[in-house]
């Protein structure tokens, strides 16, 4: 029973990781940039979600606005921070990205205060019992459901629409994609928008689960998401999803069985280091 409950808790956490890491994978696949500042969009989405919900009491609207604002901020990040330095070696963009993330954290602190924001009356806090007695918060169930739906929708868009196929072609061979008339700029804009909107979506869920939004909430997920995309075999969407869920479950079990020795994040990173020592190409590398 406990095992089942831990798996369930792990999948909840894994869903959040998956949403954040997907955006990183999209960016890495397209530009070979490790986009650390991605986590700032996760935090931004969380702030927007809480503020919109507190102002209107409309949760779907809070999600929608959080995704749009994070998505647009992602496109702006690409155009203003990365586009001008694309011809430089990748570490230049990495440094810019780290700087941008720190600047964003400080901006959140200055604008919204160091103590963070909470929901006035947090929604989806009811308890539901499933599978013969495992207790879930409604929000926990919804985050798994929402993640599954949104990832299925993205998979459909990517394989069944012309825009999706064009994006895949661009990842595979940008120059040839251009040769057939695909605008790299548009593909990059689309990818940053979608990836950042997913991060914003994840941010609102974390706000709901913790009932707290604070300036530094992105830092640990940021490092974990970077490690997850490495685990998943850099650039592989399926690998990223699997690695995110595996890490969520490992963390859940580790917290119970190793919790006296190590804290939650230490367990996660110990696991990542261990895996990368044994399989440096990632858990699910195809090539």
């Amino acid at each position: 029973m406990l095992a089942l409950e831990l798996v369930a808790q792990g999948l909840v956490q894994g869903s959040i990781y998956a949403l954040i890491a997907l955006g990183l994978t999209l960016v890495y696949g397209l530009l070979r940039i490790l986009h650390v500042a991605h986590a700032a969009l996760f935090t931004l989405g969380a702030y927007v979600g809480v503020m919109v919900y507190n102002a209107t009491g409309n949760l779907p609207l809070a999600f929608a606005l959080a995704m749009v604002v994070a998505g647009l901020a992602g496109v702006a990040t690409f155009r203003l921070a990365y586009q001008p330095i694309l011809s430089q070696p990748p570490f230049v963009a990495l440094i810019a990205s780290i700087g941008l993330y720190i600047a964003a954290e400080e901006t959140f602190r200055v604008v919204f205060g160091a103590s963070g924001l909470s929901f006035a009356t947090p929604p989806l806090q009811g308890q539901v019992a499933l599978f013969g007695g495992i207790q879930f918060k409604t929000a926990e169930l919804m985050v798994m459901l929402g993640t599954a739906l949104i990832i299925a929708a993205l998979g459909w868009l990517q394989t069944r629409t012309r825009v999706g196929v064009a994006c895949q072609a661009t990842v595979s061979d940008p120059q040839m994609a251009e040769s057939f008339g695909i605008s790299l700029r548009k593909v990059r804009d689309i990818n940053f928008f979608v990836g950042s909107a997913l991060a914003g979506f994840a941010g609102v869920w974390v706000a709901l689960l913790n009932n707290l939004v604070e300036p530094t909430m992105g830092s640990v997920p940021s490092y974990k998401a970077l490690a997850i995309i490495v685990l998943g075999g850099l650039g592989s969407v399926r690998g990223t999803l699997a690695a995110a869920l595996v890490l969520g479950v490992v963390e859940a079990f580790g917290t119970i069985y190793l919790g006296k020795l190590l804290d939650r994040n230490a367990i996660a990173f110990a696991f990542l280091i261990l895996v990368l020592m044994l399989r440096p190409q990632g858990l699910f590398a195809t090539r």
């Binding site: 196929v165 064009a166 595979s172 120059q175 040839m176 251009e178 057939f180 008339g181």
Partner: protein
């Protein structure tokens, strides 16, 4: 059609092609011949918009397209089957064709695809296979088919016969003749000189980035000094 005037191109400090002048006659096949490293592929990639033009002009329908981005050149009617084929390996055959025709409205896709499949029926049997899993011959057919999806007036094909079985080469050359009969102009880069001489209308021979011979293919066939010196024929 396409006219290159004193075209020089290359990568950064390296100049691959020097003052190449070449005029393609509409509805013909022009063979661009020469040894490895003679500048043939660079010429094609420069016309496609991927290798920087350093001097000279690229005229298409009388307009200089030398400064247009690659995305615009394909819309003017130039498409390429590049060196190494460069298929989208993790996409299906059908999706590769879809990307090839992405500048045209989606409702034309089925019609354009079926035209390619009529030319290369083999691709119809592999429609849902990943491009990376095709045989060499099928990959070459797909590279040409993908380029045709753009409905080009000029198609540039690099190393048509490289690494292919003779039977497949026959099939591809048959397709070239078919395209020519439909009025499409072909610029063909080939190492297999005999094959190129047999099908081409015009020939241009490059050596170290410079033109050493150009003219009608029949004259090239009858010029023993040319055959011996540059084309490795005896």
């Amino acid at each position: 059609m396409l006219e290159l005037q004193q075209l020089s191109c290359g990568y950064a400090a390296f100049q691959a092609v020097h003052e190449l002048s070449l005029t393609l006659r509409p509805g013909t096949i022009t063979g661009l011949l020469g040894a490895n490293g003679a500048g043939k592929s660079s010429t094609l990639m420069c016309v496609a918009g991927h290798v920087a033009r350093q001097a000279g002009h690229i005229l298409f329908d009388g307009q200089d397209i030398g400064t247009l981005p690659a995305t615009e050149r394909v819309r003017r009617g130039i498409s390429i089957s590049p060196e190494g084929r460069r298929l989208f390996k993790d996409l299906s055959v059908e999706d590769n064709l879809r990307v090839g025709g992405v500048i045209h409205p989606a409702r034309h896709f089925v019609r354009d695809r079926d035209r390619v499949l009529a030319l290369f029926p083999r691709l119809g049997e592999r429609l849902h296979s990943l491009a990376g899993n095709l045989s060499g011959g099928e990959q070459q057919m797909l590279a040409i088919g993908r380029a045709l999806m753009a409905r080009p007036r000029l198609i540039m094909i690099d190393e048509l016969s490289l690494g292919l079985m003779p039977k497949v080469i026959d099939l591809c050359y048959q397709a070239l003749r078919q395209l020519r009969s439909e009025g499409i102009t072909v610029l063909l880069v080939e190492q297999n000189t005999e094959r190129a001489l047999a099908v081409a209308d015009d020939i241009c021979v490059l050596e170290s980035g410079r033109t050493v011979w150009s003219g009608r293919a029949e004259d090239a066939r009858n010029d023993p000094s040319l055959s011996a010196a540059y084309l490795g024929l005896h």
